[in-house]
Amino acid sequence: MVGTGSSHQGRRPASALIWLVPPVVLAVCTVTAAVLVPLGARSPVAWCGTAATVAVALTSSEAVRRGRIIDTLRRRCAEQEAAFRHRLVQQEIETRRLARELLPAAVNLLQQGASADEVLREVRPLTPLDPSFEAAHRSVLRSVVEAVQAEEGLRDSAHRAFVNIARRVQAIVHQQATDLREMEDRHGNDPDVFGDLLHLDHGTALIGRLADSIAVLGGSRPGRQWKNPIPLYNVLRGAMSRIMDYRRVDLHSVADVAVTGPGVEPLIHALAELLDNATRYSPPQTRVHLTAVEVQSGVAVEIEDAGVGLTDEARRRTDAVLELADRGLDLNDLGETPRLGLAVVSRLAKTYAFRVSLRPSAYGGVRAVLIVPENLITASATPGGEIARAATLPPPKPRKKPGRPLPPPPELDQPTEESDGSGGLPQRRRRAPGIPSRAARQAAAAAAGRPPRRRSPAAEPPPQPGLWLAAFTSAVNGEEPTTDSRGPFSDESSDKEE
């Protein structure tokens, strides 16, 4: 285009002279003819030649003028074509950018919670465009943004509905579990009813786990909240109690630590899901091993099964599921047979900074390791071997003291007193008073007689609640404590035996 334009420019002075050529030639011819013809014909020839020359000059100048007009027109046309082509290219670029950059950016902004107007303000074309074309772009963008927003809103409300329903189910399940616990206490004497209650209890726990899973995927927290730290042993058992095949889980050594209150429920839930996977994808006759050891960065809980294991492809998939959990519950992804487990685990892991990995196990199955971060771990409430005692068992001794002086086991009290003083000795000492008393008791069992049994508590040192109460009453009565202490004590022990 540009080349032809420049050639026009170059030809212009030449073409300006060219139109003179025919009239000049004709004029020369006319003059020649007028000179050559006889004198009588000279005047008409001259006239005719002049007329023809003028006509040719007119025609030629007109032709040149038109040629010039055509030139300018062509030039303008080329310029316009270039401009149009440029615009076309720009629009093409802009449209491509709309498709590749602006729309994804807009959708991204929407998913982060921006409103439609904000998004439209944020997302602008780079280069200024035709107003009409830009308006068309904006309208495309707007309709897409609005559609996406409507869909996001739908998804959001579906999420909320999910979570809401899950919350209600959780509340009912919790109430049900409390009621069942009361019923278990009430009907604890009847093994048949009790067995049925345990069965129901288990079923309720399974329902609760499902509700928790849905709540977690909906972006909420799992069910209950615990105020006090719970020993890890009980947390692991809590996780076991929420799966179908808890009988197949072997709970091995557990680190003697506790989990802080906020971390308890997520940990229970994540472990329950992992245990559920382990029991579900391994043959029913195999065992699943559950251990917990302390590591540098916290506590590692290991779940090992002897199942079919993970193929490379399956492992990639599970890793992918564990990776992208922040999208939350996508109703479309659920499909016919929803696989919630790993999604729930990864979601919880992301929220509470658990580290989860699934690797092939030495047994051939899968070994799942969940590392609980240090900030969720605290010292166990009852250090030194009594792993779950604080949460499971009330100390028998203090409960007896206030009211009834009936049958307190004195051996329970002694070692704790002694263990305050010296480290390793109490175990040895406890055996010393224990052995004769047990021997005496066996003798008593053989003879079914009372005297040896009465002798054995008397032989044991006296820090019994009954004793000091007796001493108290005798002191109130003004009697000497040491002489009378044996009397009420032996009475009580005989009372107890009957």
Binding site: G188, N189, G195, S241, L393, E411, G434
Partner: protein, 119 residues
């Protein structure tokens, strides 16, 4: 039975069926009554389940099944299952509370009573 009285509801994620791995009763003919006295026969073993360990620890002195149940705040059936485990491992010993055979037969007493009335 209100909630705060029950220590389990204040912070224990265990359920009862976990303690006994789902068993509610034992098929064994070990008859454990509410008043059967239980005595430990060995020291606690670190490998024991905490509940078992607690029973062994507290039964150093003879305790009835009902008492164990009360101190552990566990239902009697659960305690019975736990005790059966311990009994099969010979870690505790059960002792019938009152030798029933030592009591006179009720029918005999009735016969005596009737005989006396007939005099």
């Amino acid at each position: 039975m209100s909630k705060p009285k029950n220590p389990w509801d204040q912070g224990n994620p265990d359920r009862l069926y976990i303690l006994t791995t789902g068993r509610a009763s034992t098929d064994k003919d070990l008859r454990l009554d509410l008043v059967t006295l239980i005595v430990a026969r060995s020291e606690t073993d670190p490998g024991l389940q905490p509940e078992h360990a607690a029973i062994v620890r507290m039964c150093d002195y003879p305790l009835s099944v009902a008492e164990i149940s009360a101190y552990l705040t566990l239902p009697v059936s659960t305690v019975t299952v736990l005790l059966t485990d311990l009994l099969t491992n010979d870690q505790v010993e059960a002792r019938p509370p009152v030798p029933v055979a030592a009591l006179p037969d009720v029918r005999l007493l009735e016969a005596v009573m009737h005989g006396l009335q007939n005099l």
